[in-house]
């Protein structure tokens, strides 16, 4: 399979005003800092990490939907989309669509469901009215909504149904890539399962590529083909599904996985919970070495001196940590000694 999306050295900075002494001064917050990855066609790359780590910003930059200063390259089917303007951008927007977390606020309350779904067709394509109607009818069926629901307004739907409307809207332009930013976080578990099954079915049917952001690692494990773990704007680990969950290498990834509460009593007994104390550092005042050093249970003096680079340990597994040796995690080394 070929790389559909190829991200090189993507950096996003926001101008912010910071109070310091008597005067507020203009400074930059680097929300996404020099990240690179590729996603193959038809696959799902999950992005995980704590709140504020830059997941949404990275994904929105890839959809050209972010207001910050962006540098680097985002190649979609081999073509850099960051310099595009006007007509070319329209074409690109058809290929990259977004599903948002909150099915309540992301739909215009004054529009009927069918108009919400066809909105991207109106603004991005020059299809005829009958063509658009035909597409909307098909989409309603594809996402499991009934034809008579086309005329209803968002408040007349449940949360799960609203998310189906959002999905139908994202599908309307036959996109290549769909960015799913916490698409099920606002939903109850039963409805979450309905939506996750739908997303996977649609992916198989239409060969969709997903960038899937979620803080729920169980959901990520179920949905992903590979995972990028972000911490303070950096990718700290990026691996295929099996490697990431079975052989995590970065101390932060291990802490994240061990923090998930488990229903399995055997798992709970065996779990060596790695508690990482405190909070992440101030994004406007990042340390010069490893950004995780202040919370890392195995931080060494060198970690505070220089930032680790994201290096490949196998062809499908990259990690940014000074203490990873070969394919051995520093925490495993610690508990063995």
């Amino acid at each position: 399979m070929t790389d559909l999306l190829d991200v090189h050295n993507l950096t996003v900075r926001f101008g912010v005003r910071r109070k310091g002494g008597m005067f507020a001064r203009q400074t930059y917050l680097t929300a996404v800092d020099d990240i690179s990855f590729t996603v193959r066609k038809g696959e799902t790359l999950a992005i995980v990490g704590e709140s504020g780590s830059g997941k949404t910003t990275a994904a929105l930059a890839i959809a050209r939907l972010v207001s910050g200063v962006t540098s680097g390259k985002v190649e979609l089917e081999g073509r850099d989309i960051l310099p595009l303007d006007r007509d070319d951008l329209k074409d690109m927007r058809q290929k990259v669509q977004v599903i948002f977390q909150d099915p309540y606020s992301s739909l215009n309350p004054r529009k009927r469901a069918e108009d919400i779904v066809r909105e991207p067709l109106d603004s991005l394509t020059d299809k005829s009215d009958p063509e658009k109607r035909e597409i909307v009818d098909q989409l309603f069926k594809a996402v499991g909504l009934r034809p008579e629901q086309k005329r209803l307004f968002p408040h007349q739907f449940s949360g799960g149904q609203r998310q189906r409307i959002g999905i139908a809207r994202a599908l309307s332009t036959q996109p290549e890539v769909i960015i799913c930013d916490e698409p099920v976080s606002a939903l109850d578990v039963a409805v979450q399962a309905q939506i996750l099954n739908l997303l996977r079915r649609l992916q198989a049917e239409y060969g969709l590529t997903y960038l899937f952001i979620s803080h729920d690692l169980g959901v990520v494990q179920h949905m992903c083909d590979s995972v990028a773990v972000m911490y303070m704007g950096k990718i700290v680990e990026h691996a295929d599904r099996m490697s990431l969950f079975n052989k995590p290498l970065h101390p932060y990834t291990e802490a994240l996985l061990s923090a998930v509460p488990s229903v399995d009593p055997r798992l709970r007994e065996n779990a060596r919970r790695i508690l990482i104390p405190g909070d992440p550092p101030d994004p406007l005042n990042l340390p010069k070495g490893c950004r995780f050093a202040s919370r890392c249970p195995v931080a060494a003096p060198e970690c505070r001196e220089s930032a680790p680079s994201l290096d490949a340990v196998t062809p499908s597994h990259r990690v940014a940590c000074h203490l990873v040796e070969g394919e051995t995690s520093p925490l495993a080394t610690l508990s063995a000694s």
């Binding site: 109850d188 399962a193 169980g218 494990q221 179920h222 949905m223 509460p261 919970r273």
Partner: protein, 328 residues
């Protein structure tokens, strides 16, 4: 020993535009001294309402106890005076909520807010209250409590604000701590810190805990016993590990199997998630004399629509409100 909390045949009615509906419909439960139980279920099933009823905080003019009783340490709460209920809320039963930002006052420092509770409920003087506020911040593991006591809520992270809420809830060493989705708004690593903190505090103080959550993993980590609620009724009750390994109610099974639980030794294999079709009914459908789960239930039969299933006991600690519980 007599239970610390005993809820019997409790019926709470809410007056809504659509009419009066039983948001809690004949609920029975007990909580022992030092015990931790969880209420589980999708949103809209009445978990928070149960907690608010115990706290004497039902929405004024809308909710009322229609029948039944809530006994706390032998004392009847449903008929207690507002003054007595305030005393109990301050000193014996405390509650923490999902979004700590909305429950903290943005214009006072966290120290002032903790000290205020200590002055009002324990009659401490200014200085003693302040000193104890610092101690409490230390107990909930806020770093540098001596300086952080002067911080305003907005200067703290979400996890720290929840710790402050826990500090306030603990200020009066309550006998029961009710935690309503205390970590839903937090990252997993912070959730793990908060759970650890709650477990430690419980071990040290012997406080009973009622956890409200939709996360079975959290239930398993935090509680010995769980109560599954559906549409204002108790669907199933029992020791957590027993219920998880062998659910006696189709709703419980559905809740467990629809979630993609994280696996220790992941394999390439992937199946579709089990779906529980449909959604929780609206309040106006509560209270009918039938099984309210029937439209979503894979085992529903005619009998399920003919009458409300009673709580069927399984041994002394378990029960299930399902006509077909014996076959599950």
């Amino acid at each position: 020993m007599a239970p610390l909390l005993k809820v019997e045949n409790l019926r709470i009615e809410l007056a809504t535009r659509a009419g009066v509906a039983p948001v809690i419909d004949n609920l029975n439960l007990e909580l022992a001294h030092g015990e931790s139980i969880s209420f589980v279920g999708e949103s809209g099933c009445g978990k928070s309402m149960t907690a608010l009823a115990i706290m004497g905080l039902l929405p004024e003019g809308i909710g009322r106890v229609a029948s039944g009783s809530i006994q706390f340490d032998g004392e009847e709460l449903t008929t207690a005076s507002p003054r007595r209920l305030r005393q109990i809320r301050g000193n014996e039963i405390s509650m923490i909520f999902q979004e700590p930002m909305t429950s903290l006052n943005p214009v006072y420092t966290v120290g002032e807010q903790i000290a205020e509770v200590l002055r009002a409920h324990q009659g401490l003087g200014q200085k003693a209250a302040w000193a104890q506020a610092i101690e409490l911040l230390d107990a909930v593991q806020i770093p540098n409590p001596k300086s952080r006591v002067e911080a305003y809520p907005f200067q703290m992270s979400g996890g720290q604000r929840q710790r402050v809420m826990i500090a306030i809830a603990l200020a009066c060493t309550p006998k029961i701590l009710i935690a309503d989705e205390p970590t839903t708004a937090l990252d997993v690593t912070v959730q793990a810190q908060i759970f650890d903190l709650l477990r430690d505090l419980r071990a040290q103080t012997g406080t009973s805990i009622i956890m409200i959550t939709h996360d079975m993993g959290a239930v398993a980590e935090m509680s010995e016993r769980m109560i599954v609620m559906y549409a204002g009724r108790k669907a199933e009750e029992g020791p957590v590990d027993q219920v998880i390994t062998h659910a006696r109610h189709p709703y419980t099974s559905g809740l467990i199997s629809c979630v993609p639980h994280i696996m220790a030794n992941l394999t390439e294999e992937r199946h579709d998630l089990t779906e529980v079709p449909g959604i929780v009914p609206g309040l106006s459908e509560f209270g009918q004399d039938l099984c309210l789960f029937a439209p979503r239930c894979p085992r529903a039969s005619d009998k399920c629509l003919s009458a409300r299933p009673p709580d069927v006991p399984f041994g002394s600690a378990r029960s299930s409100a399902c006509w077909h519980a014996e076959d599950l």
